[in-house]
């Protein structure tokens, strides 16, 4: 299929990008890796007036340390993430989830920031970002920057806190040290498919006790969801199959997942419980 005609701008700095967005007219779309945007344009489900292509904005690409945080440029590709040494050391949950994204071709073009800004609840990275309480650094007109926490960033289906005229520039996530165990448990029918349900789990242990737990759910609602009840049940508990299974049984509490060809809602809720048990079991080193 062929997209409808559009204007195309390819800036090389964030400043130029913001100007291009401001000047782009009523319906501006930002092109990061294009792995979601291009298909919907080709199907003519989207027909933006202007495309602002960020692929030449080199300052948006790469991973760096800042104290206790990792700072990931919005245009860092999935492949970059999977091969980055800082991510390998402090961001294992991100790496594990990113390795499950689609296929190698998509991972070479698709970007970390693009996937988060697209905010598809079936995407793998929003639930990870939510579980990690990531902070989203957003640049606005004139270059002013604001930071939004993950809990406020994901507003609704395909909708984030990024306003018109703004640009996601980087994502800050806490470094997880060696006392953390992580697992991204993804359930889909074929390797390249979206998650039917997935669970991102990060668990910090002191001895036999769980001291912190962060559980994010993929595709269990219109946004990524924290399994707060599971987290609460895990913290302070002794690590055992019984405690993990008991906690995981609460994984679907409060969720309202959709029904589609792959799964009806009740089955998704069942999967959330099973996958949470498996994810936490693995993350806790059981």
């Amino acid at each position: 299929m062929i997209p409808a005609a559009f204007a195309y701008v390819r800036p090389s700095t964030v400043e130029e990008a913001l100007q291009a967005i401001a000047a782009g007219g009523e319906d501006v779309k930002i092109l990061a890796g294009g792995q979601s945007l291009i298909p919907v344009m080709r199907l003519r489900l989207a027909a933006p007036e202007t495309i602002v292509d960020l692929t030449k904005v080199s300052e948006l690409r790469g991973v760096r340390e800042d104290g206790d945080s990792l700072v990931i440029g919005a245009m860092t590709t999935h492949h970059d993430i999977c091969t980055d040494p800082l991510i390998a050391q402090y961001g294992k949950l991100i790496a594990e989830a990113t390795e499950t994204v689609a296929d190698p071709a998509v991972r070479h073009r698709g970007t970390f920031g693009g996937a988060l800004a697209h905010a598809d609840p079936a995407g793998d990275l929003p639930a990870v970002a939510l579980a990690l309480d990531a902070e989203f650094v957003i640049a606005g007109a004139g270059g002013a920057r604001r930071t939004v926490g993950a809990a406020d960033f994901f507003v609704d289906y395909l909708t984030t806190a990024i306003e018109d005229g703004e640009l996601l520039v980087e994502i800050r996530v806490p470094k997880l040290g060696s006392d953390w165990g992580v697992r991204y448990e993804k359930f889909n029918r074929v390797a390249q498919a979206w998650s039917i349900v997935a669970v991102a789990a990060a668990v910090r242990r002191e001895g036999s006790r769980i001291t912190e737990a962060r559980i994010g759910l993929t595709n269990m609602g219109s946004t990524p969801i924290r399994a707060r009840a599971v987290e609460a049940a895990l913290v302070g508990a002794d690590v055992s199959m019984e405690t993990v299974t008991g906690a995981a049984a609460q994984a679907a509490e409060g969720t309202e997942p959709s029904s589609d060809l792959n799964a009806q809602a009740d089955y998704r809720q069942h999967l959330a419980r099973v996958l949470t048990r498996r994810a936490v079991t693995a993350a806790a080193g059981l």
């Binding site: 299929m1 062929i2 409808a4 005609a5 199907l43 003519r44 296929d103 359930f187 029918r189 074929v190 390797a191 390249q192 498919a193 979206w194 039917i196 029904s259 060809l261 792959n262 799964a263 009806q264 089955y267 069942h270 999967l271 099973v274 996958l275």
Partner: protein, 825 residues
Amino acid sequence: MTVTEDPSTATAGAPAKEVGSARLRKEDARLITGKTTWTDNMVLPGMVYMSVLRSPVAHATITHLDVSAAKDRPNVVAVYTGADFKDEQGSIPCAWPVTPDMVNPGHPSIAVDTVNHVGEAVAIVVARSRTAAVDAVEAIDVDYENIPVVLDMEEATKDGAPLVHAHTESNTSYHFVFDAGEAGTGGDTDAAFDAADVVVSRRFVQQRLIPAFMEPRSVVVGVSGDNYTLWSATQIPHILRVMAALTTGIPEHKLRVIAPDVGGGFGGKLQVNPEEILALLIARRLGKPVKWTETRSESLMTAHHGRDQIQYIDVAADREGNVKGLRVRLLADMGAYLRLITPGVPALGAFMFPGIYKFPAYRFECDGVFTNKVPTDAYRGAGRPEATFAIERIMDELAVELSMDPMELRRKNWINAEEFPFTTVAGLSYDSGDNEQATQAALELLGYDELRAEQKQRRESGDPVQLGIGISTFTEMCGLAPSRVLGSLAFGAGGWEQASIRMLPTGKVEVVTGSTPHGQGHETAWSQIVADQLGVPFDDVEVLHGDTAISSRGLDTYGSRSLVVGGTAVVKASEKVVAKARTIAAHLLEASEDDLEFSGGKFSVKGTPGAGLGIQEIALAIFAAHDYPEGIEPSIDAEAAFDPTNFSFPHGTHLCAMEVDTDTGFVKIRKYACVDDIGNIVNPIIVEGQMHGGLAQGISQALYEEAIYDADGNLTTGTFVDYLLPSAMDLPHFDTGNTTHAAPDNPLGAKGVGEAGCIASTPAVVNAALDAVRHLGVSDIRMPLTPERVWRAIHQGGDGGDRVAEGSNAYGGARTTESGYEEAK
């Protein structure tokens, strides 16, 4: 299979035999890199581009259609509607009227006043660029008045059901019956059932599938005066030429059809497509070259689909497990129209339901049913996978009913090696084989005993991951086909194939084949055959195909026929070349023809070492033609047509070991082993590739693929996000092997391999999953075995149910139960 060259076939001094050697495919470099003549790569001077406005509704009257705004769009050349072509478009041809009273409602290429499925052409923009055409389509204004939609075959065949075609009396196109008692090939079926100890009845659903070939359909029409050249990504350039000529009125000799390199078909390009006819009509109207290439979305929505049957099957047996009778009733979804062989696909399957078993009685009935969906037609296996699935599934069900081992039940009833050739209850003469030998080899490849032990252990320990083993001992009819047999089945053409061989002055060889490849590797295999037949180097052979001006006679590629029929024609043509060359060699060597022997490409005089003449030298000599015998033509070129006397019957045993995660319903193939008897093998690499691809598609029917229409008749699986295909990541390693019983009815001894993997694998996979969870009360799970269906079947009973909300599935919610099936509520 071990892919090695067998040195024992090479005799000292002679070149190694090409047939049987694992030659890399000579055509692959250009096919894989795409640097070749894919139809969409074609650009002709002044070419214009078609884009099609397609109906968004399944069943409606077109009440308003205004194309004036589209005509005013930039670079638009013309905009057409059905009204423009209603008097000249004729009907898309249906070549297989399976019964004399079959109802064919006619199939316009573009809708005139009503639309009968989503995706049907309503208007066409022709523009100077593809983008201009696509943009202008959006400016067309059209209103529809909906008519009740017919989707569910069981509902559509009831009295008083809404009609797809108002001018027909019912939604049933035909009622086809094969009764072995009446045909004299078996006993009375009702009597067999009345006398049986045990009867097992099931309702199986063959879901609708999409062929999903890699290269989209594409058409280019060139115009030169009143001559037309049609390039198309088609499997059937020869049949298309005849049919397009008859449909459009362009005289056949004024129409040349070229299938350049074609990227896959799987039966999906065994068609005369509406867009091919429309491109011809528009090129004729405008006097300009025209191109149309579909988008993937158009392909999924409007290229013909496959399968889509509801199968009611009953098997009768005695308590000892001897089968006594088989009864099959089919509802076969035709879709909205009859395309080239739409009605024939299920009828072809009629002869394969008895499988490899010695049924004494058999009755088959099939209703072809119209629905408001895109037409169905050939898809890899075409009728035979459906039959194989049903018989291999019901044999497992019978084994359960009798508390017998499913392999023992099969062994008790299958045709034994010494009984070949065997005439079946369906009247076919199975040519050769040994079911026991193939089965033993497959059991060893799988490691059957160890896996059965593990299965037992997992059951006893209540492991959440259960293990099952599925069996499919299958056969199929290939090498389509003896022309007289096709005639007796009312098929519109014969089944012969043509080849010719041109000996060029430099000794190089051109082989012209009527069997047009679309990825099978004909160029390599035919070169191997000719290299052996003529004793020329493999690299000296070029294979020409797909152009009706070069290959004037042919019946194209489908039904695993190319090697068996087309390859044999190549052998026959080669034999004629050698015979003609022998006369000239005798003349030049001053010897009697009877004293010449031909070996390794060279004629030599018996008992006279040293004296000899190569066939490539003779090619030059007869080109010069300075010295050749009186009374013969100065040529050693030859052509041959071959019409087989029987089908060929590959058979084999496929075994699947399946892990089922009872917590999630996820199924994972643990191991897959198969041993196929496909007769003699020309190229083991090509055979291995065909097996792998066939297995992938057969497994994919079992686990992944399903074309779903919602309650309004919209295709909800309209992209590859929803119409799921597996990649190599999702498929297991395949342990493949062969037994070899040469086909007796062709000189190559080949049986055909294009469809075997696809036909055999599907029931093995489903049987494996059921074997894993049958002790949990599961007796059927509908294909594809989505995790949700498997999980529901385990935890809630039934067959896993629909994949969308109640009432919105094409099958209406009827479900399989232990006692047969219950109707939709």
